[in-house]
């Protein structure tokens, strides 16, 4: 019966059109992840017997826990920078004439489409000892010897923020564009100042976009392997490099798998929190 009903409605396509991709995902996405899970329960690299040794090793090790904490904190720093700079840019977009909108959009999209290695490399040029920041400060006489900017956490957070900024700006533009302009006009007409309208109207109504942007930026920042390794310069270890080192250099697949699972779980928890907040915020925006 359902089949004939679906057959009549010409605007709905049958679900079986997604079967090829579904099968592809079962074999090449779900199965590998299951093997990852299985591998993480192997007690030693030779895979002689199963056990929780790898998880115990990670959770009982101060160093491993500090790597996880540093990675999650890096995500917070990057997301904060992206939001602070991305929101005004998205706001500017919605108040610009069409030609300027296209220009802003292309400016935002260019870094998104440019290779991550290229963007990271640019920051090596900018932050290096003979880079533009140091040369400018030296020329102006603010400093006598070049500052160490590369291989520092601050430099890395700014660089990753630039690399991930488009992921924040795009959802924000979508959210702010959707806000009814009359609502803002009415708020101003009722005597609301700019800051007040921003705090009481603009910000709450664009909250779904803010959360979507924060989630994408956060997820991308903590897995930014290239930027973390090149700009962080191995001074500080983050989860992606930790996984890579254990898997490739040390060939310790069970431990690498356990780190991956813990990392995956941490990301899922963050995504879940953002989704819950998103649900709350949509409720608020509609109320």
């Amino acid at each position: 019966m359902a089949d004939t009903a679906a057959g009549r409605d010409v605007t709905i396509y049958p679900l079986r059109l997604s079967a090829p991709l579904f099968a592809f995902f079962l074999v090449f996405f779900a199965a590998p992840l299951l093997i990852l899970l299985w591998m993480s329960f192997q007690a030693d690299p030779a895979m002689t017997h199963a056990g929780l040794n790898q998880y115990a090793a990670f959770l009982g090790d101060r160093f491993s826990l500090s790597v996880l904490a540093a990675t999650l904190w890096l995500g917070v720093e990057v997301t904060a920078i992206c939001l602070l700079l991305g929101y005004p840019l998205a706001w500017l977009y919605t108040r610009s004439p069409p030609w300027a909108r296209t220009a802003i959009m292309l400016i935002v999209l260019l870094p998104l489409l440019t290779s991550v290695v290229v963007r990271t490399f640019a920051w090596i040029v900018i932050l290096g000892r003979q880079g533009i920041v140091n040369e400018t400060l030296l020329a102006l006489g603010f400093i006598q010897t070049p500052l160490k900017l590369l291989y520092t956490e601050g430099g890395m957070a700014v660089a990753i923020a630039q690399v991930q900024m488009p992921l924040m700006v795009l959802p924000l533009i979508t959210a702010i564009t959707r806000i009814e302009p009359n609502l803002l006009d009415a708020s101003f007409a009722l005597g609301g100042g700019h800051w007040r309208v921003f705090r009481k109207v603009l910000l709450p109504l664009s909250l779904p976009g803010i959360l979507a942007g924060c989630m994408l930026t956060y997820a991308a920042a903590i897995t930014a392997f290239i930027s973390q390794s090149l700009i962080g310069g191995g001074q500080k270890l983050f989860m992606p490099m930790y996984i890579y080192q254990q898997a490739s250099s040390l060939q310790n697949w069970p431990f690498a798998s356990a780190i991956s699972i813990i990392f995956l779980a941490a990301v899922l928890v963050v995504v879940w929190i953002f989704n819950q907040l998103g649900r709350l915020s949509r409720g608020m925006a509609e109320a």
Binding site: F22, P88, L109, P166, Y244, A247
Partner: protein, 270 residues
Amino acid sequence: MALRHVDFDTFSFKSVMAVLSAIAIVLLIAPSLIVVIVSFTSAYSLRFPPPGFSFRWYVALSQDWQLQFAAWNSVKVALAATILSVVLGVGAALAIARSRSLAGKIADQLFMSPLVLPALAFGLASLMFFSVLGVPVSLTTLIIGHTVVIVPYVIRNTVAALTQLNTALLESSASLGASRFYTFRKITLPLIRPGILSGGFICFMSSFDNVPVSLFLRDAATDMLPIRMWQNLEGNLDVTIAAVSGVLIAFTIALMLLMERLTGFSRRLA
């Protein structure tokens, strides 16, 4: 309207917003610009501003067969993975776009999950999967791995195009006696083509740029450009990478402007 000669509220709000967005714009443009400038340096270091102008690093690039080999592999993998993603992804997008069933929602969540999951964990998982099966890594395994992580882009863009499609067109086509396939070929497909194209374009760029999956599924015989560049940079800061970056930025801008003309790409993503 009353003339307030100092409206501090308006002034402070607009200047804070203007300064922050100006910083954002400079931050977004400057790095690419600086890389292009530095790629024409005559020096052996990445000093900025460069002491002199030369094409020497582009000449060096034209003789660097390792980088060229890796670039060629990356193009091959990106093309194949994009085609595979479009074929599989458009079908899936049609099925889930207007589906209100639970199965449709689950499929949607599943297909989108590579976007948020750490791709590095998936890369490692793929490597173990293929090694458990006894399949050696090759361009084919790279294409498969890339397809998983890029297919969400084509699905998302196609679904967006489908939801904007006026369903009355499909209904009138059907009531005039056209078969479903005929309606799809003559009406649906031409209308959603820009969405598919821009999704495919993002797929291509992100496969070409992929690191986390390639890191595990590549070996010396299937070197990929981003990994080769990363390894060159890890060793010592190689100025040839500036020339590669210059070429990549030029290609990206050219492709982006082409897509903008073909699909109105910039309006499609917001």
